[in-house]
């Protein structure tokens, strides 16, 4: 991948906002990590930048992770969003996944698992984007082809094989 990956981490715990980006930088070479200490700050960030992935805590004062997820789904529907949950918050996990989260990470965070999940999400996102791009390209190719065929149909004799058919 040519452009470096950019990830946004949203949590209200300042210590976590120090530890987690450092872990990502160490484990995912060349990644750009930005942080936001509230859902509102996160929304302000995604308005100006399209991240490759967003990781958010689920329990936050003010707008919580689930509400933020819903906002991300309307503003940046393509950006994969991962949810950090406490241990045993299964109900919240289910709600997050139904709300469009692409994965969840339980605290205490296993860095290996976390990085793998993040890669997987970004890879899926990239593949998705690629597939979409290809589909778009294919659609335009098909349209182009149809136009050519129409043009040829209107000029009998232009194509030797088609004359008199």
């Amino acid at each position: 991948m040519m452009t470096p990956l950019s990830v946004l981490i949203v949590d209200d715990d300042p210590a976590l906002l120090q530890a987690l980006p450092q872990a990502l930088r160490l484990r995912m070479g060349g990644v750009t990590v930005e942080t936001a200490d509230s859902a509102a700050a996160a929304l302000a960030r995604i308005a100006v930048q399209d991240y490759d992935a967003i990781v958010t805590d689920i329990k936050m004062p003010g707008m919580d992770g689930l509400a933020l997820l819903a906002e991300i789904r309307t503003r940046r529907p393509d950006t994969p969003t991962l949810i950090i949950t406490g241990h045993g918050e299964n109900e919240l996990v289910v709600r997050a996944l139904r709300g469009g989260a692409c994965d969840f990470i339980q605290k205490p965070i296993d860095r290996g698992y976390f990085v793998a999940a993040l890669y997987r999400a970004i890879w899926a996102h990239v593949q998705n984007r690629k597939a979409k791009d290809r589909q778009l390209a294919l659609t335009s190719c098909a349209e182009e082809l149809e136009r050519i065929v129409e043009k040829l149909d209107r000029q009998p004799g232009a194509v030797p094989g088609r004359a008199g058919s």
């Binding site: 530890a19 872990a23 160490l26 329990k59 936050m60 406490g86």
Partner: protein
């Protein structure tokens, strides 16, 4: 008579025959007449005098009569008044007689009462001893209750505290993991590794603080008294509750003024008071549009008054007294033990203070605590 004298004088004049005798006779007669005349005149004057005296006397008599009439009228009035007084006196006498009779009966009854009282006093002495025994029992039970309540509070706190503990533990894992990564990547710059480890240490002390606080709180420590700043009590209580309050978006303000009131008491017990009140306030504001708890304190004339107000649904009228009863709760089954406020009440009373609640309709509840200040 004067006519007669004139006649005689005429006769004498006429009778010139006997002039001398007649003259004599006449003279004597005249003298007699003059004498008589003088006498009559005297008598007349005396009579006039007497008449004047009589008239005077008569006048006086009339006056006296008038005075007498007045006296008589006065006398009549007095007599009537006297009759009335006599009547009244008589009825008073009769009433007094009744009263005397009643008083005698009262005295008899009093005597009976006094005898009964002596019996009662004897019973009372026995009852007092029994009461004292029960009171001792109650105090023991109350101590047990305080400990049970503390553990119940601890149980309620656990969820919030687990979350609070989970965060530093998670952060420690991440910081230490980062340090391991740095070492494994053979990063030569030691500063980066040390920074990660320092962060981890900070998180360790944060977790330790939470755990040691919980241990102190749960311990059945002997109830010792020491001078303790009120601000410290409130802040320590808040530190156990902070995470729960923050996640529920409950705004907490503490305003204790410029003074630093110091109370003589047991830090853990007083902390428990505020944890109980904060827990109640937390639950009370759960459904409110504005969620706020305000703690305000002010010290004056040897005591400190702390008000803890919330913006919750308030206390239904008529329950203000009952809320301090043990096992009384308005919370759903399984949500509250009903012990919190009764323990709070007991602790405040033990500290020589008072606690009351005000809950005007349509407003949240305000708990008012009054505690004596530690003498300097």
């Amino acid at each position: 008579m004067p006519e007669m004298a004139t006649e005689q004088r005429q006769a004498a004049v006429a009778d010139r025959g006997a002039p001398v005798t007649a003259e004599h006779r006449l003279r004597a007669y005249v003298e007699t007449l003059e004498r008589r005349l003088r006498k009559r005149d005297e008598q007349r004057r005396a009579m006039l005098h007497i008449m004047g005296d009589l008239s005077e006397f008569n006048k006086r008599l009339a006056n006296q009569r008038k005075a007498m009439l007045h006296v008589l009228a006065d006398y009549e009035r007095d007599r009537r008044r006297l009759a009335r007084q006599t009547e009244r006196l008589d009825s008073s006498r009769r009433a007094l007689l009744h009263i005397l009779q009643d008083s005698h009966q009262d005295k008899l009854r009093l005597e009976a009462s006094r005898k009964a009282m002596i019996h009662i006093m004897g019973d009372l002495r026995e009852t007092t001893a029994e009461m004292q025994r029960r009171e001792r029992e109650l105090r023991d039970k109350q101590e047990q209750l305080v400990q049970a309540g503390k553990l119940a509070t601890l149980g309620e706190l656990t969820t919030g505290v687990a979350h609070e503990l989970n965060n530093p533990l998670n952060n420690i894992g991440l910081f230490v993991g980062n340090a391991v990564d740095l070492i494994e990547l053979a990063v030569t710059e030691k500063g980066q590794i040390v920074r990660e480890l320092r962060h981890a240490m900070q998180q360790v002390s944060k977790a330790t603080e939470i755990i040691s606080h919980l241990r102190t709180f749960g311990r059945a420590a002997p109830v010792s008294r020491e001078p303790i700043p009120l601000r410290q009590v409130i802040e320590r209580a808040l530190s156990l509750m902070r995470e729960q309050l923050r996640l529920r978006e409950i705004e907490v303000t503490v305003d204790l003024g410029p003074e630093e009131p110091v109370i003589l008491g047991n830090a853990i017990q007083l902390e428990q008071v505020f944890i109980n009140l904060l827990t109640n306030a937390r639950d009370a504001v759960a459904e409110s549009p504005r969620k706020a708890i305000r703690i305000a304190g002010s010290a004056r004339s040897g005591a400190v008054e702390v008000a803890l107000a919330d913006t919750g649904h308030g206390i239904p009228p008529g329950l203000e007294r009952r809320i301090f009863d043990p096992f009384f709760t308005t919370k759903e089954v399984g949500k509250g033990t009903g012990l919190g406020l009764s323990i709070t009440y007991g602790i405040i009373k033990e500290h020589g203070g008072t606690i009351s609640v005000a809950s005007p309709p349509g407003e949240g509840a305000t708990f008012l605590i009054n505690l004596p200040l530690a003498s300097p």
